[in-house]
């Protein structure tokens, strides 16, 4: 393999691609991790929301020729609502149980839900939209050329979204009352209850915002590469890997883990072949589990 023969612009493009993908991965890992830290719910259908967001955007913008801004607004609004309904259906029934029961219970129920999303989406798309279920969006934006390296317009949009969403989540957690309460719940659940924090109010906010951000990430993911109805569980697995690498509930950890996995995926795909992408990041995952089980930026639980 021509490892040393690669030109500098190509290498820069590759690294930028990994960074873009990684920023998006970091964001979806963080929304998964925030829900886990505050409610003990492990949402296996997380990647499914990503795929659904991409699918709905494709349907509205590509097939129904809707104005992109309107299409994005509809997707965001829909998934804010989906997040609230999901919380009511899957989180509320488990409230008041022990963290361990909530964790196990949520894995079982949301795994079923993830399979239902796959089946519904595959069937619906093939039957009503197109016999080849594949979701992708294209934007006609001029590429940006810096020092001979080309950056596509959609990549720049993805990167700016990932940065903006990360900053917004950070401000939400540190500056808003709901965000402070969410952090309190994740650090000491009983301590938070004692102070009069209503865990349902927090979990509604977390799932509404998290699901919306995840669907938005799905929209952007299909700008970079097409998704199919059965990609959901693979994406959940990627988010879980990042969560373990970065540490549960850590925003910088999720971002760092996301970028590591994104770079690993892009570089292995280029130098060895796309089929090998998971191998490198799973190797990173094993290394982290062996050497620093609390995650790179996580804290040892007591």
């Amino acid at each position: 393999m021509p490892l040393l023969a690669i030109s500098l612009p190509t290498l820069v493009e590759l690294l930028a691609g990994g960074l873009t993908l990684g920023g998006l991965y970091g964001l979806i890992a963080f929304t998964l991790s925030l829900a886990l830290a505050t409610t003990h719910i492990l949402n296996v259908a997380h990647g499914g929301f990503l795929v659904l967001g991409g699918a709905m955007g494709t349907l509205l913008i590509t097939f129904l020729k809707m104005d992109p801004f309107l299409g994005v607004a509809i997707v965001l609004g829909t998934f804010l609502l989906v997040g609230l309904l999901f919380e009511r259906a899957f989180v509320e029934p488990l409230m008041g149980r022990t963290p361990h029961e909530i964790l196990i219970g949520s894995i079982v129920t949301t795994f079923g839900f993830a399979l239902a999303i796959e089946a519904f989406l595959g069937f619906y798309w093939a039957r009503h939209v197109s016999p080849q279920p594949s979701f992708s969006l294209t934007l006609s934006l001029p590429p940006l050329v810096i020092l001979g390296a080309t950056f596509s317009g959609s990549r720049l949009i993805i990167l700016s979204f990932a940065i903006a969403a990360t900053i917004l989540f950070h401000l939400f957690l540190t500056r808003t009352r709901t965000g402070q309460e969410a952090r309190a719940l994740s650090q000491d659940f009983e301590g938070a209850l004692i102070l009069g924090i209503n865990p349902r109010r927090i979990s509604r906010a977390i799932f509404a915002l998290g699901t919306m951000a995840t669907a938005a990430a799905g929209l952007l993911l299909v700008l970079a590469a097409p998704l199919d109805p059965f990609d959901g569980l693979r994406l959940t697995l990627i988010a879980l890997t990042i969560l373990v690498i970065g540490g549960v509930g850590s925003l910088p950890g999720a971002l760092l883990g996301g970028i590591l996995v994104g770079e690993a995926e892009v570089l292995t795909a280029f130098f060895i072949g796309p089929a090998w992408s998971p191998v490198l990041y799973l190797a990173v995952l094993f290394a982290v589990l062996l050497l620093r089980p609390e995650g790179l930026l996580g804290v040892r639980s007591h």
């Binding site: 000491d188 938070a192 209850l193 004692i194 924090i197």
Partner: protein
């Protein structure tokens, strides 16, 4: 102020409290003492709604609260300093305290100043992470955090646990001061000598039942209590 009647709590098949009844009057300092496993922590958790009671009524300031969720009971004016403190270790002292004022947000700045006046060392360490404080300082944060909600009744669960004797003395002085200033207090303790010295009245809890009650000083002078709890 607080009236508990017929309270029964079970963990699965294991019964922790049997038909417990007691009351705390306005301005009183009442202690519940008893050995490890007697059900003291279970009692305060059930009063705050952290545990579901099988039976019994809890009336607080004339209102039945046994069906309310914990956050609604806090809004009624109950506050708990839990066993083990349950601070938010990765937040600063001032962030921990601020979260105590969720139900009394308008008074936050004034309450914060009062807590810093009560425990000056917390003012010096306001920007330090709570997890890095000493045990005695953490207990101060836990008490300060509970006071931030301007409670009508302050419940303290084993506040002396894990503290050095000198820190216990200072802490008990603060608890006595708070009561003198008019705060009603329910003190749950294994440290029988301190609790009985301080309390107007006390209940003795053994294996989930109240076996004795009386004025603190009288129980402290009682031969059975001295033999069982003070090894005298």
């Amino acid at each position: 102020m607080l009236e508990v009647s017929g309270l029964s709590v079970a963990y699965g098949d294991l019964r922790a409290l049997w038909d417990l009844s007691f009351r705390v009057g306005e301005g009183e300092l009442v202690a519940i003492i008893g050995p490890n496993g007697a059900g003291k922590t279970t009692t305060v958790k059930a009063i705050l709604g952290l545990l579901r009671a099988e039976a019994g009524r809890v009336s607080f300031r004339g209102r039945q609260i046994e069906r309310l969720p914990p956050h609604a009971r806090v809004r009624e004016g109950l506050a708990l300093v839990p066993e083990g403190r349950h601070l938010f270790p990765f937040m600063t002292v001032s962030e921990n305290l601020a979260l105590g004022a969720l139900t009394a947000h308008d008074h936050r700045a004034a309450s914060l100043q009062e807590v810093y006046d009560l425990f000056p060392v917390l003012g010096e360490r306001r920007r330090q992470l709570a997890g890095t404080l000493s045990g005695g300082e953490q207990q101060m944060v836990a008490i300060g955090r509970a006071l931030m909600s301007r409670p009508r009744l302050l419940m303290l669960d084993e506040p002396s646990l894990g503290l050095a004797p000198i820190a216990i003395d200072a802490l008990y002085q603060r608890i006595a001061d708070l009561n003198t200033q008019g705060l009603t207090i329910l003190l749950v303790e294994q440290y029988v000598f301190g609790a009985l010295s301080l309390a107007h009245r006390a209940y003795v809890l053994e294996v989930g039942r109240i076996v004795r009650e009386g004025p603190g000083r009288a129980l402290l002078a009682d031969d059975d209590i001295r033999r069982a709890y003070l090894a005298i």
